[in-house]
């Protein structure tokens, strides 16, 4: 098990390279097999993972550029473990659900490369390595959106690429500056996160670096007002692109916030806490309203994604164990749910070649199984208790309640609005009489689609009832991080603040 992380990162890459040799007809089976093997390895990682150990496990270290401190340094802790499993799981599910025939080989190989970059981002402990995977993840996604999307795909692909690239170059300057400070303080070059976490920075430096990192993450999440690329990308992307984009790529941004902003810049985090929370709440409510106004089913889910990401950010910036653990859980649950919803929209689009809700109506009559699965996913998205969506949202909001209950109240309205637009969507498309003749006699969900959806539905229910096996390891690592933050913060009032929001009585 010594090199299991390298195996997880590079297996899709190697499989992708060999994929060129596989015949066009069998490439889909090849892709699914590879994704399944990859998923099995990550499950093995979970089994071997020690849930009581808070630090990084399975750490590998090899120096790449010694004079500059760049190294190949990977490791996994409770925070990243489940995001890695989510990436491999969603890739597998997306490949099972894939039904694009055109240039399927290029598409599947791109997806495998994308999988490599996704797990690479979550497993990297060296910041330069992290940046490498972070940037490289754009390339396969650009190709997937741009080559297999709908009419305005090229515009959407370029917009996606430029937005995220422009955000991250400033992060690169931040990374280099951070490396410089580390060198100035300790006399050695290092870009490793565990090393950086030991560094206590003066407040003014924290502000600048926080800004540089935050911008990159905010664009990736995407936070209001940088969110405009996302609905476009979703609107134009093929189903498989949307699934991976919503399920995993967006999580890179929030993961970056947890991994970098909180432990590296605790004082700046607390200083910017309220403004960021306000933006997050605006984002929750505003995008929920926008989602309600959409005519296109896919756009509703795209905007609902942004809305949910707002709650995740709120949970992260609660800076207490409940909030952060909840938001990481919400990342995973939102990955499952939004991925599932995008797949379902893709299925109905395959049948009707439209995503406009006005074209539907009474789908429950012609496609009962499909409607049931859609209903379960939708309820999970709304956050119905006993579904996976509830746990994360509840914990995130509870965490932030300790910081400020009025703001939490506003964020809570986002959930109500979520129920409004989602149920409206369901009512307009699935209930009532069949008004449009084209909807009559639509084929219900088929075997392949069922194979992709059943695991998702099962997870939604199982994790909704019993989330403990996931919450515990996350909680262990998060608590360690909060202790670190508390120790590192420069100002005494910030130390007190962290203790206060982590105590039982909470803020008020």
């Amino acid at each position: 098990m010594d090199h299991i992380l390298s195996l997880i990162i590079f297996f899709p890459l190697i499989a992708g390279i060999f994929g060129f040799l596989v015949n066009k007809e069998s490439i889909r089976a090849y892709g699914i097999t590879v994704a399944f093997i990859e998923f099995t390895i990550t499950i093995a990682l979970w089994i071997a993972f020690d849930g009581n150990e808070a630090g990084f496990q399975f750490v590998e270290h090899a120096t790449l550029i010694s004079s500059f401190g760049v190294s190949y340094h990977v490791g996994v802790d409770g925070i990243s473990l489940f995001l890695v499993i989510l990436s491999t799981f969603m890739t597998m599910v997306a490949l099972i659900g894939l039904n694009i025939e055109k240039d399927a080989k290029n598409l599947i190989i791109s997806i495998l490369y994308l999988e490599m970059t996704m797990v690479g981002v979550f497993l990297s402990l060296d910041v330069i390595l992290f940046y490498l995977f972070w940037e490289f993840s754009l390339v396969p996604m650009l190709y997937i959106i741009g080559a297999w999307g709908s009419d305005r795909r090229i515009y959407a692909a370029i917009k996606f690429f430029l937005y995220t690239f422009a955000g991250s170059v400033l992060m690169l300057v931040g990374i280099l500056y951070m490396g410089y400070i580390y060198h100035a303080t300790t006399g050695v070059w290092s870009f490793s996160i565990p090393d950086w976490e030991l560094l206590i920075l003066p407040i003014s430096t924290q502000f600048w670096l926080f800004g540089a990192f935050f911008l990159a993450f905010a664009i990736k999440v995407p936070m209001f007002p940088f969110h405009t690329w996302l609905p476009y990308a979703h609107g134009q992307a093929p189903t498989v692109g949307s699934v991976i984009l919503a399920a995993v790529l967006l999580k890179m941004g929030t993961y970056g916030m947890v991994r970098f902003l909180l432990p590296l810049f605790p004082d700046a985090t607390i200083y910017f806490l309220i403004p960021i929370a306000i933006v997050a709440i605006v984002m929750v409510i505003y995008t929920a309203m926008v989602a309600y106004a959409q005519k296109d089913m896919k756009q509703v889910i795209a905007y609902s994604s942004i809305s949910h990401m707002g709650i995740i950010i709120l949970g992260i910036f609660a800076i207490n164990a409940e909030g952060i653990t909840g938001s990481i859980f919400l990342m995973i649950s939102h990955g499952i749910v939004s991925g599932g919803l995008f797949m379902l929209v893709g299925m109905i689009y395959d049948r009707r070649h439209t995503k406009l809700m006005s074209e539907f109506g009474g789908l429950a009559i012609s496609m009962p199984t499909f409607a049931t699965i859609y209903g379960i996913m939708l309820m999970a998205s709304v956050g119905l208790p006993l579904t996976v969506g509830f746990v994360g949202e509840f914990l995130s909001l509870m965490g932030f309640y300790k910081v400020n209950w009025i703001m939490t109240l506003f964020a809570g309205t986002g959930i109500i609005l979520g129920a409004v637009y989602m149920l409206t969507l369901y009512k307009r498309s699935f209930f009532g009489e069949i008004t449009n003749d084209k909807n009559r006699g639509l084929k219900d969900i088929n075997g392949r689609e069922l194979a992709a959806m059943i695991p998702l539905v099962a997870l939604v229910v199982i994790l909704g009832i019993y989330p403990k096996p996931i919450l515990d390891p996350i909680d262990t690592s998060v608590k360690k991080m909060i202790v670190l933050m508390q120790k590192k913060s420069v100002l005494p009032e910030n130390k007190e603040f962290i203790i206060k929001v982590n105590s039982i009585r909470g803020g008020e």
Binding site: L64, S67, N106, V139, L142, I158, L170, V173
Partner: protein, 495 residues
């Protein structure tokens, strides 16, 4: 009565001339061979040229004599060594491009190869001297050979390019002599280290004179380095010359120019006179930004690469502005990594060169030409895509590491604003490189004929492409050894 001068042969340090002597000898022997034996193939001359270059490279690597030779006219210090190596390796790779699949007039002529070697010798002299007159001779030798080689392509555009380059170059030469004259008038010497001594002793007075000399020198070197606003010749000359030569021009003359700029401007920036630094600062930022902005709107890939090479030159000039050892090492690292990506990109243009302009009345390589290339010629499209990503500074490809190192040098020396501008410029640059990728990967092909992308392809070109793509992709492991070598050489020469 004049004193009789006695010359000690040892003091001359003749071995320092060996690398240049080999290239000059090679050029002469090619002329002689051509006189003796007619009807020799281009492959013969090409390989012979490569052999002479390798010999010269061996002489450079094996050199371990004194720095100074011929009464301080020759200065074979660390940066002279490293830049000669870059020049020779790049030349060897680019001259092999003559072995493309199609026949071109210039490559059939032995004179082309003789001129090529003379040009290399010129650049070698230029980098291994800190005597303004010697630098000038080297510069002019190289430039005159280069003008002729461009014109030998023998198209109307090529003649236009050669004449444009020649007239502009003549003006630059005028600037150069003007600057050298002022420096001589101020200090009574044409050797940079002497000039530095005198100016330092005098506290850089009279400032007007120093500023005038600096501005003239910036104009002269600015032409060679295609710095804004002296860049106007670049796109036209690149467009007019063959892709092989254009790629060569984007690398070798510039590294020679960088070395001269490094020798001269670092001395001036160290002076502490704010004006000198500000002039360079403005020039650097203008070059990067302007090059990038204009590259955005180009319709031809070669012109796009021309403007992008302007931007890259600006990026690298920032190293001279920063002036630390780390930055200077970064300059060479960047340029080596850039060389491989650029070699690949221009080789690909060269290999896809078609007899007719099928796509556009004016341009050889408009973006449309490459649309849907992934479907027609997938391997070539992927390779070209890698070069574009590398040039754009996408990790983990080559140029990214150069950018990383240079930006880190900027940050480490307190030039945070400069680092941010460099970062923003990299973001801007992504767009136009992406444009080609979008055409290649996302648009539909114009024609299904694979041959339009391989009309000039040959085994040699394929090998070069493979080599370039290999180096570009694995550069993460090359950075460490390269940096060690470069830093060693740069530190040795005190920069």
């Amino acid at each position: 009565m004049l004193e009789p001068i006695s010359i000690d042969l040892v003091a001359l340090n003749v071995t320092s001339l060996l690398p240049m002597a080999i290239t000059v000898f090679g050029a002469l022997s090619i002329i002689v061979i051509d006189l003796a034996a007619k009807n020799l193939q281009k492959s013969f001359f090409t390989v012979l040229t490569v052999l002479f270059i390798i010999l010269s490279l061996g002489a450079v690597i094996g050199f371990n004599g004194e720095d100074r030779a011929f009464f301080d006219v020759i200065l074979s210090d660390g940066i002279a060594m490293i830049s000669q190596m870059i020049i020779l390796v790049t030349s060897a790779l680019f001259v092999l491009l003559a072995l493309g699949g199609r026949r071109f007039q210039e490559f059939a002529m032995a004179e082309f190869y003789a001129l090529f070697l003379f040009m290399i010798a010129g650049f070698q002299f230029m980098v291994s001297s800190d005597n303004l007159i010697m630098i000038f001779i080297g510069l002019e030798t190289a430039s005159l050979a280069l003008y002729t080689m461009i014109a030998m392509h023998n198209r109307a555009k090529a003649h236009e390019a050669a004449i444009k380059y020649f007239t502009m170059g003549a003006l630059a030469a005028g600037f150069y002599t003007m600057s050298a004259m002022i420096f001589y008038a101020l200090t009574g010497s044409v050797e940079i280290h002497q000039i530095a001594l005198v100016l330092n002793a005098r506290g850089f007075e009279p400032l007007v004179g120093v500023l005038a000399a600096t501005v003239f020198m910036l104009g002269a070197l600015g032409f060679k380095l295609s710095m804004v606003p002296f860049h106007t010749w670049t796109p036209d000359v690149y467009e007019g010359s063959s892709a092989a030569l254009a790629g060569y021009m984007s690398i070798v003359p510039k590294i020679a120019g960088f070395v001269v700029a490094m020798r001269l401007f670092e001395m001036l920036i160290d002076s502490g006179v704010v004006w000198l630094e500000n002039i360079l600062y403005v020039a650097v930022i203008m070059t990067m930004t302007f090059g990038n902005i204009v590259a955005l709107v180009q319709e031809d890939v070669k012109r796009m690469l021309a403007f992008s090479s302007i931007a890259h030159a600006g990026f690298v000039m920032a190293a001279i502005l920063i002036g630390t050892t780390e930055a200077n090492a970064g300059l060479f690292l960047y340029w080596i990594l850039f060389m491989f990506a650029n070699l690949g990109a221009f080789t690909m243009l060269w290999a896809t060169r078609h007899r007719q302009n099928l796509w556009d009345n004016r341009y050889q390589h408009p973006f449309v030409k490459f649309s849907g290339m992934i479907k027609v010629s997938p391997t070539n499209a992927v390779i070209m895509g890698i070069f574009m990503f590398a040039l754009a500074g996408m990790p983990p490809f080559s140029v990214f590491w150069g950018k990383l190192y240079l930006m880190s040098a900027a940050v480490n020396s307190g030039h945070i604003a400069l680092a941010v501008i460099m970062a923003l410029n990299s973001a801007m640059a992504v767009y136009y490189y992406m444009k080609l990728i979008v055409y290649m990967f996302l648009k539909d092909p114009v024609s299904d004929d694979e041959n339009i992308y391989s009309s000039n392809m040959s085994t040699v070109l394929k090998v070069i492409l493979g080599f370039a793509v290999f180096v570009t992709s694995i550069s993460i492991v090359l950075v460490e050894p390269l940096l060690n070598i470069i830093t060693n050489y740069v530190t040795l020469s005190g920069f």
